[in-house]
Amino acid sequence: MRELVKTENALPFMKYRFVSWIFSAILLVGSIASLSINQLNWGLDFTGGTVIEVGYDRPADLSAVRAVLTERGFGDAVVQNFGTQEDVLIRLEPREGLKAQELGDQILRALQESSDGTIDMRRIEFVGPQVGDELTEQGGLAMLTALICILLYIAVRFEWRLALGAVGALAHDVIITLGLFSVLGLEFDLTVLAALLAVIGYSINDTVVVCDRIRENFRKYRKGTPEEIIDGAITDTLSRTVITSLTTVLVLLALFFLGGQLIHGFATALLFGIFIGTYSSIFIASGLAHALGISREDLMPPEVEKEGEDLEPMP
């Protein structure tokens, strides 16, 4: 048998939980600091505005493009390459007035008139400022709803301490992933939001597997402190955790390198989220449950009540 994790004895995860907590605390504080100072580089979906992507048949001359745009009164446009030398991305802030929705067509025409080669319209996106505000609100709401629903499900299926631990770990993952996007200044658009929710889905998957083992081991082994039980459970599931993370990372690498520019942010968020999610389901989720004082009694199967026991005798 080939084994990634070869051990007969439980690894002492709980012993080092304080190390992981300090590590996580640093990451969290750093993320929140960066989020409040740098904030997020919100994408078009959230800020509103216009984005135009055009493809030239040769490497594009960005300064020429800028000159044409300034001449036409679009001096505030941000012009950059997108993916390749030939692709140009033009981004404009939202403008007041009817013109906003016609901006894309106008710029495209201006570029086509001024260039002697052919220009391929690749995409035009316009998002009104109001739509952007709504999306931000909905996105935040979606995140919260997801966390609460998951909290409830685990509280019902398992136990509230494990549920809090799991959801705490999820919030940890989301904040640190957001922090990464803030520190690196990566664009945060709708697909990244989707990726974050997928990270929640993935991380909870991992955490549930560990929680499930913790419960099982509490019931199976009559002896042992909660620390030993939790250590054992994490060790038992460790090779599964590592293998699943590995296969997921493999496909995400494929997506990152082959999926194209449009889902680069998506792949980045997920790749990072998988690492942080795997780490948190090992150290943070069970650590939190332990800190909340989880014990054997909490996880014993509930005694089956006799039917009609609580009912008043019939008069």
């Binding site: 909905q138 697909t191 699943t244």
Partner: protein, 615 residues
């Protein structure tokens, strides 16, 4: 003990996978370039149309791959995109503007598959190219318009009931009726109480006025009606544009989504979709002076409007006819080569026109052109403020009693006449709209996205398969089999669900599912290894491995499913696409990796005594 599946369970697994494979099959055949001909309002598409199209194309020497009459549409399949463009022009020339001729990509699904109802997955706009618009409807204006209509109905009703009033006017969201006498007041009160359901009557006996106010339910109903009416009209306009497989859908309280696959000319699309032009026909007020009105003394029952050719025109407030009654409109030239629009009215409209003009021969009638333009400003509630622009485009003396067909002149250019005719044909929007979101994807980017998505899926798939075989040997092979079945199932289910579209994030969802789908098998196989370490027999190890992993897998997947469902509920467009593939992937992967692999493992190792397992 031995691990054996009953025959029905094995058959079920085989049947489900085969069924999904069958419905996934059409995706392998690709698409043909096609031109689609559908009927306009006044004509039908039948075998005769088919014959005309076919002979026209043969005469033009354009090679057809196939031509067929389906769902009252003629679908011509062609070999290349240049043939497609040529064919469209030929067909347009042959059939004229009575028919809608649209470019399309038709699935090249073989007949036998099509007869089973199998069709390929729908591709989202980010994969096939096209325009997506999100439009916001101005509800305030819709209500205003409806209340104006309501005011006119109250006037007519009271007149018919012979109840005398001194005024019926709109005041905010109310219609205020002022009566002349106490008897009229009492009569009006009882009449309105009986006839006007859904309104609250606020009456004031002292001043003999009655206020009609809509109830909350009625307001909601009215707004729903306004939106659905706008959706219908937008759909008509999209048809006029000649777009195949458009989507026009309501979204939320006051938004409408329009998706036009394959459309590149967004400028024209926007001009046509967003236009709120309509016409009203009214009598000119010749008894009063325009100068007085311009000085601010507008006579009661009349309104002052600017004339397109300069100056102002005084018109009666009562509307003879609105644009709603127009069933057909076309542009042409009059005797003097000036552009004109020929209008055909429906029965009710024809009657109204005929009645109104019968006794008014010799009186001037004006055509009022009404358009709403977004000002770009917003009110306190964040709603866009629209400006109502009205101008008189012509005033003509009624020469004879008009019927259901007549023409209007005084239009600036031929292009304007064409656009006006198109808008009148399609109907006027009940409320003005503004585009609040636009996403246009060019065809080259769409094709590139498909190609990159497939590459990523294939690469990710191969890496996972290699890893599983190395790590779990023969059991890994079984898991890989399940993985293949899983992708077939996802594609099959996506093809079967009519509303599901594949988007670029959706493809990412499939990639992610491939990575995560092996998770269930990893859980099971790790358990089996543990059982073997605990010195159980191979058969018992398999049995307990599956059993004890089951609840873990279920819990883990249900929580992921919760995230996917929330994503679906909140997300729009591409994100929704991701949620759909993720959710479908979770469900299918549970089936393939729990039941599917068990069936295979039972069939290979379950029925005999073995000493060792290759896991």
């Amino acid at each position: 003990m031995l691990n054996k599946f009953p025959l029905w369970k094995n058959l079920m697994v085989v049947f489900i996978v085969a069924f999904a494979a069958l419905y996934a099959l059409p995706n392998l055949y690709g698409e043909d370039y096609a031109v689609q001909v559908s009927a306009g309002r006044t004509v039908t598409v039948n075998t005769e149309t088919l014959g005309r199209v076919e002979s026209a194309l043969q005469a033009a020497d354009i090679e057809m791959k196939g031509i067929a009459l389906e769902d009252e549409q003629v679908l011509v399949r062609l070999n290349s995109d240049s043939d497609q463009l040529q064919a469209r022009d030929v067909i347009l020339r042959e059939l004229g503007t009575d028919y809608f001729v649209a470019l399309n990509l038709a699935a090249a699904t073989p007949d036998w598959l099509e007869s089973l109802g199998a069709s390929p997955m729908k591709l989202g706009l980010d994969l096939r190219g096209g325009v997506h618009f999100l439009m916001e409807v101005d509800m305030g204006e819709a209500m205003r318009k409806i209340l104006d209509q309501m005011r006119d109905t109250v006037r007519t009703d009271l007149r018919e009931e012979r109840i005398r009033y001194s005024g019926v006017n709109r005041d905010g969201n109310d219609v205020v009726i002022e009566l002349r006498s106490a008897e009229d007041y009492a009569a009006a009160e009882s009449f309105l109480n009986n006839q006007y359901q859904g309104y609250t009557l606020i009456d004031d006996e002292a001043t003999q006025t009655i206020r009609l106010r809509m109830t909350e339910d009625k307001i909601r109903e009215t707004q729903d009606y306004a939106i659905s009416q706008n959706v219908t009209i937008l759909r008509n306009r999209v048809n006029e544009l000649g777009v195949a497989e458009p989507v026009v859908q309501r979204q939320g309280a006051d938004r409408i989504v329009v998706q036009l696959p394959g459309v590149q000319d967004t400028a024209r699309a926007k001009e046509i979709l967003g236009a709120t032009a309509t016409l009203e026909f009214r009598f000119q007020d010749t008894e009063n002076s325009v100068f007085d009105a311009e000085a601010g003394r507008v006579p009661f029952g009349s309104e002052l409007y600017p004339n397109r050719n300069g100056g102002n025109v005084l018109l009666k407030q009562d509307v003879i006819l609105t644009g709603d009654h127009i069933v057909n409109a076309s542009s042409s030239f009059d005797e003097n080569q000036r552009p004109q629009v020929n209008i055909t009215l429906d029965g009710a409209g024809g009657d109204k026109m005929s009645l109104a003009t019968r006794d008014n021969i010799g009186r001037p009638m004006a055509t009022l052109f009404i358009e709403f333009k977004a000002t770009g400003e917003r009110d306190e509630e964040g709603k866009i403020i629209f400006e109502r622009q009205e101008e008189v485009i012509n005033v003509a003396t009624i020469q004879a009693r008009l019927g259901s067909a007549f023409r209007i002149t005084g239009i600036g250019s031929q292009q304007e006449a064409q656009n006006l005719a198109l808008l009148l044909r399609a109907g006027a929007l009940i409320a003005p709209i503004q585009i609040v979101e636009e996403r246009t994807i060019g065809p080259s980017l769409g094709a590139e996205n498909v190609q990159m998505g497939i590459q990523a899926i294939v690469a990710g798939f191969i890496m996972v398969i290699i890893f599983m075989v190395i790590y779990y040997r023969k059991f890994g092979l079984v898991a890989n089999l399940a993985l293949c079945a899983n992708v077939v199932l996802i594609v099959g289910v996506m093809s079967m669900i009519p509303g599901a579209t594949l988007t670029l994030p959706g493809m990412a969802g499939i990639v992610l599912t491939v990575g995560m789908a092996v998770d269930a098998n990893v859980l099971i196989f790790e358990r089996i290894r543990e059982e073997i370490k605990a010195k159980r027999s191979p058969q018992q190890a398999i049995h307990h491995g599956y059993d004890s992993a089951l609840s873990t897998i279920a819990d883990a997947n249900i929580t992921t499913l919760i995230a996917a469902i929330i994503l679906f509920a909140v997300g729009t467009g591409p994100v929704k696409g991701f949620a759909v593939t993720l959710a479908i992937g979770i469900l299918t992967s549970m089936f393939t990796s729990i039941i599917g692999t068990r069936a295979v493992i039972n069939a290979i190792w379950g029925g005999k005594r073995i000493d060792k397992l290759s896991v």
